[in-house]
Symmetry: C2
Subunit: 334 residues, 2 copies
């Protein structure tokens, strides 16, 4: 397949200089006589030379690869963060290698091993279940950044939104519209995020002196079907409600469909709010109100922070603020 590869030595011969000089002009690491520099550059052009990253990685000790571990490729939030990272790395000298942890501790660990074998220069872990201790150990080995997690001992390496606040804000938003019977479709209970959002919901209720009714809470799974089931279930319990707060947009979409099936109008009879503000949310009928997490931006921020980290700069991760994209699925309770 591959024809004889051009190496740095070929360039050196062609330009009548030594390998060292070629390396120097290629990396701008040491001043080089202009004539020689030019000769080298011409040689590179003429021979169509492409440096071998594996070799330079081995020799120089920097693979110029950043490992990125994401979860359940296909889930809106994690995908968006990942895209942000990739986008940020494009046109830098670094390339990302992606592994999927699928929210399974063992698979995550295997993925990390794969990355370490590849001598990644830095590691960005988005979500996941790996324990604190292991993360600390990793952080001691490689520049590490955590997105969507809050790990004590690594606070300055964590980029996350305050999920309690998201739950609180979303619920408070509904309460301020006059709603008091608010269904909450949670995320997967095993995820910290879900629990925090639920707690935010509970806190907002308490603050407004609304008694907690567990029949209004349904454990969902961050997906469409569970959103449908949530509404069906709550209705079958004979519960009245005037608003629904879903732990993410996909389950809100499911809820929306179920309400439609039951002939319940949105927003005149029931208000609906989701989280994520997916691309599709503004195109639902009616356009859906959603809490916006700046996922893509967070990915970009993580990427940039990693680049800084690799240049030994101080990093200062932003605390991303959430805001509610108010649309037409929410209205005053009459």
């Amino acid at each position: 397949m591959d024809p004889k590869k051009i190496t740095i030595q070929d360039i050196a011969d062609y330009a009548n200089v030594s390998k060292s000089t070629v390396s120097r002009v290629l990396n701008n690491t040491t001043p080089v006589n202009d004539k020689k520099r030019e000769a080298v550059l011409r040689a590179v052009k003429d021979l169509d030379f492409e440096p071998n990253s594996l070799a330079s990685g081995l020799a120089g000790g920097n693979s110029m690869i950043i490992g990125v571990q994401t979860q359940k490729i296909g889930s809106p939030f994690y995908d968006l963060v990942t895209r942000g990272v990739i986008h940020c790395l494009t046109d830098t000298r670094y390339s990302p290698i992606l592994v999927d942890g699928v929210w399974d501790k063992e698979i995550e660990l295997r993925g990390i091993d794969t990355l370490l074998r590849r001598q990644i220069d830095g590691l960005i872990i988005i979500g996941g279940d790996i324990e604190k201790e292991h993360l600390l150990r990793l952080a001691a080995k490689k520049p590490l950044l955590l997105v969507g997690r809050e790990v004590e001992g690594l606070q300055d390496r964590c980029l996350y939104v305050d999920n309690f606040d998201i739950g609180y804000q979303a619920t408070k938003f509904l309460i301020e519209l006059g709603h008091r019977k608010i269904v909450h479709i949670t995320g997967i209970k095993a995820h910290q995020d879900s629990v925090r959002r639920l707690n935010g919901y509970l806190h907002a209720l308490k603050e407004a002196n609304i008694p907690y009714d567990e029949d209004l809470v349904y454990e969902g799974a961050f997906d469409g079907p569970s959103g449908v089931k949530a509404i069906d279930t709550v209705i079958s319990r004979g519960k009245k409600f005037t608003a629904v707060f879903a732990a993410n947009d996909m389950s809100a979409f499911g809820a929306r469909l179920a309400l439609y099936r039951h002939g319940i109008d949105v927003p005149s009879e029931v208000s609906l709010i989701g989280i994520d503000d997916q691309t599709e949310a503004p195109y639902m009928t009616p356009p859906m109100t959603s809490v916006r997490q700046p996922a893509f931006k967070m990915g970009v921020a993580a990427g940039n922070a990693m680049l800084d980290l690799l240049m030994n700069k101080e990093i200062d991760l932003p605390k991303p603020s959430v805001q509610i994209s108010v649309r037409e699925s929410t209205a005053k309770a009459e």
Copy 2:
């Protein structure tokens, strides 16, 4: 940062064998005495050894990296294919490196260069604008697979759906429901896919003896806003229509919203069909009919084909079949 790395030499010393032997047991390349093999294995465990992929890539000539170029990270179809590839590669010895070509020939070429520098063992290009000649040259250098493209001279390396047929089937589906005034929201005209889908639409019309009305065709951009604009425009032209065929789901979502704004009911007044069958399509109100392209499966198929290619096996890419997920956004024209 990195503490002293354990190398194969350390293992050799610890196990009282030579580096060569260690390499042999690690790769199962040559039989090795059981006692020595065991000693090596124990050493690996005891010292917690992780082989350096860069070094083995350099020495062995296989980087075990597969380059994947996708387009506009964030676009449903391309993302899904990409995910399929990544999913397929998980738990193999190969890792993917991703670059985004953003449908820009120059950026695409740069991306490919990045990948080649990294000594990728194989290349999967999803979509994009790179010319045939260049692709042929690439194919001569590396195992190459093309997804979503049809390139003569590389037929056996192309995995794509018949976009003409998609357009034809979607339109025919509407015609068979009795529709004769069918709006078509195209994709970006510069993309082959869009043109083919449009041609399929035209062919279906002609076959049914429906005169072509250019006012019913709007050039969209595969996104929500252009879907909205399409409907607004056609309506402002004073055109009557009873069905809309959008070149992808996102623009169909946009169309859906615009119809809602204009108080036009779906499907009783206007039927709507999209392409992609995104995760969200079944949760639109009403659930949206869409032509399903098996994007994820195509990604997996591409990944598997690449693995076969790398083992010098014959590959036989499937011709993915499309089918219409019939839901409730389409109905008989009254």
